[in-house]
Symmetry: C2
Subunit: 459 residues, 2 copies
């Protein structure tokens, strides 16, 4: 019987074809029109788990987009490990900035371009392929494995708290590894010690009953866009601090050791700027760029619209204006409390002459912190050392993976980042891509992880 590594090598062409097939499913979880596509992606994942040799494969209803579960539980004296990932994607707009249709993947210069390539289809497919390789070459796995792939990560996993709570027994495990996340760069591994939390809300401003003529009525009533920009501008100081009352109250200051770990990570400001294509950085005074991105909360307007947006000019006084806002949170901010504070600020600062409504997104994520010496981190570190030949950085992540907080609360298990996305892969933006090198490295890493896990003693 060939080794699982040989199996992986000989199957790379087929695996790439499968990834492209997976990427062709436009499983955008936030858009109602794509609900059936998310379901199709779930079916694709279930079939792929089955083909890999997983058992008890099921598409489990959640009330929203489904969860795909599969397991292999035949070594009762060994630990049970859960692997997490998600098969839904972000929306694709602005579509005109894509070089190719986002759900028609192309491979160019050893990169796969498509929405979801890095986040998270390329990353989540890798452990399935590793499981197949080990099962096919050895006939068994060195540890018990449960796979948990969800279809609602990009909308904040709204049904998962209830779903996981209701399925505690099915999902019970000793360790969780997340195939959603990334490494520092192609040559540098990183452990990920924290995630920011998230809450979001939409602000709707209504002035006159309908759009009116700016000549006839301009100057006599409040323009809802003026009201909205006033409101939104009041949410930050010109220096870049969030000006919402009480916003920072629950923020736990960084300890000296935490600050030192972050300072140890090399940072090149001109690289950072070049990567984004900006001349200047901007952020909360008194913090380094990494501290701002990982350890400080933010309030960002993700979208704004109102009135005439087409070519040319239209002298309209619009009836309504709207904004979508989200906040990234850090320990110990409570998403619900932050929504309340932003809502209170909105009502307090709303100009007269308009009606302002706030509609919070039901999905939120708690900030998440895992101890740096957690057993899962120690095993991950050893795999990274072997794979990269380097010590990992002790980094953090500015993004949010809600399920980490949910798993911790409901199952009492920390989630270890074990994924291979990289920062330049245009995740959530146009022309998202995933490196073929990361794709094969991820498969190898999961194979090594499974081997090393069998040596781990359940405490």
């Amino acid at each position: 019987m060939a080794s699982w590594k040989t199996y992986l090598e000989t199957n790379q062409d087929r695996y790439l074809k499968e990834l492209l097939e997976f990427l062709r499913l436009p499983s955008i979880s936030s858009l109602r029109a794509h609900k059936a596509d998310v379901q199709k992606a779930a079916e694709w994942v279930a079939a792929r788990l089955q083909a890999a040799g997983l058992e008890n494969v099921q598409i489990l209803p959640t009330g929203g987009h489904p969860v795909v579960y599969g397991d292999w539980l035949h070594v009762p004296d060994k630990p049970t490990v859960m692997i997490y990932g998600h098969f839904d994607t972000q929306p694709v707009d602005p579509l005109e900035l894509w070089s190719q249709p986002p759900f028609e993947p192309v491979v160019e210069e050893e990169r796969v371009y498509a929405r979801g390539a890095s986040d998270d289809k390329g990353n989540m497919l890798a452990p399935i392929l590793a499981l197949e390789a080990v099962l096919n070459s050895k006939g068994k796995l060195p540890v018990n494995v449960k796979c948990f792939f969800e279809g609602q990560e990009e909308i904040g996993s709204p049904q998962l708290p209830e779903f996981i709570s209701a399925n505690r027994e099915l999902l019970a495990c000793d360790l969780i590894f997340s195939a959603d996340g990334g490494q520092w760069d192609e040559d540098q591994p990183s452990l990920m010690l924290a995630l920011r939390g998230l809450c979001a809300l939409q602000v709707d401003v209504q002035a006159a009953r309908s759009d009116t003529h700016s000549g006839t009525f301009g100057g006599t009533i409040m323009n809802p866009i003026h009201a909205l920009v006033h409101l939104l501008d009041s949410m930050h100081t010109p220096q870049g601090k969030v000006a919402v009352e009480g916003f920072y109250d629950a923020v736990r200051p960084l300890s000296d050791i935490e600050q030192t770990r972050i300072a140890e990570i090399p940072y090149d400001e001109s690289d950072y700027k070049a990567q984004l294509g900006v001349d200047e950085l901007f952020g909360e005074p008194g913090y380094s760029t990494y501290e701002r991105a990982w350890t400080r909360p933010t309030l960002e307007v993700n979208g704004i619209w109102g009135g005439f947006q087409d070519e040319g000019f239209k002298t309209v006084l619009p009836s309504t204006a709207h904004a979508k806002i989200s906040c990234r949170l850090v320990s110990d901010q409570d998403p619900q409390e932050i929504v309340e504070r932003v809502t209170a600020h909105t009502h307090k600062h709303a100009p007269s002459g308009v009606t302002v409504k706030v509609r919070p997104d039901p999905s939120t994520a708690y900030p998440y912190v895992i101890p740096h010496d957690h057993p899962g981190n120690r095993i991950a570190r050893s795999v990274y050392q072997a794979l990269f030949g380097k010590e990992p950085y002790y980094a953090r992540m500015g993004g949010s993976i809600p399920v980490c907080g949910i798993f911790l609360k409901e199952l009492g298990v920390y989630t270890v980042n074990f994924a291979f996305g990289l920062k330049d892969e245009n995740v959530h933006g146009p022309n998202e891509f995933f490196r073929l090198k990361s794709f094969s490295r991820a498969q190898l890493a999961y194979g090594m992880l499974l081997e090393r896990l069998s040596e781990w003693e359940i405490k």
Copy 2:
């Protein structure tokens, strides 16, 4: 031979059918996709002028949307009167707020609903029908008439200054009457002594090269929406004055008599609010509502957009954000100078970390004022007295009709408002309509105007 009034009466059904036909042409001048439709509307108008008995009917190229010209010049001892109107329309968005497709006119409760019904197709068709009635019943007109209908009013008549300047001889006349505009209400006529001027510009804010992930980069670079709302909010004081330096410098204060004439016009604040569906009015402190709408300049954001605007949430840090701004101007503000001041303000207040570009609309309109006792106003007043049985108000208009300033500059002739739109007709908004009563009244008014003009002595 029947009288022209009888002719009008017996042809009302046909005239309404023709209006509906005219309204079915989606002649939106601001959208490139509708260029051919504006041309079709020009052809429709030319054919209608021909059918009415006008001579030398021509579709004249302007470099942009065309002008339709026709004349009848057979009474050399009588004055030459030009009739103005426009056959282009505003765009239709937000489309979802229309009760029926905007270019599929419906007649309900004595109103024609369609984009352009009041502004300006219903109004501009009326004088053509009156000319036909008089020509058909009398075989001739009592005065010389030139018809000038344009297809670019709603985009600010960008080619007309040059076109009118180049065609001074063709367009030479003694008096101009505009079939674009309106009356006070169904029972109350009004002379219109002033129009506001107009200038417009688009502000484009660029931050990172492309949309990025608000988790990964949020807090470290300027969000272009934050920059834009800060910039836009800086353009007004919280009290509602325009905060652009020098904006009011050229504004001529109202004289006592001007103030009195405005104060004489009845004003009911609860009616005004009810008409708009607002609980509260808002505007520059120290001025009445009519003063604000007619005699004070404004800066209004007509449109704003950036980032994610679809259903749900997307935690994106957008790359760009945009706004369309227009200013209504009063004597003696110069549109070009105001564009420069707003541009200077924009650059001065642009936050760091973003690139801000200002793109002025090439079309502008000078503010326009006509003496209250101008001969054209005196004739219009006498027709109104006969038609409404009432003295007209000496009102003003907050909107802009650029051609009035252009005619004055290039032909040395004032333009008299002689149109029958009413304020509640949702002009520029969804569900625009025109009253059938106004449609027939406008035809009658133009017939009477022609009769009375023949008695006017050219000075």
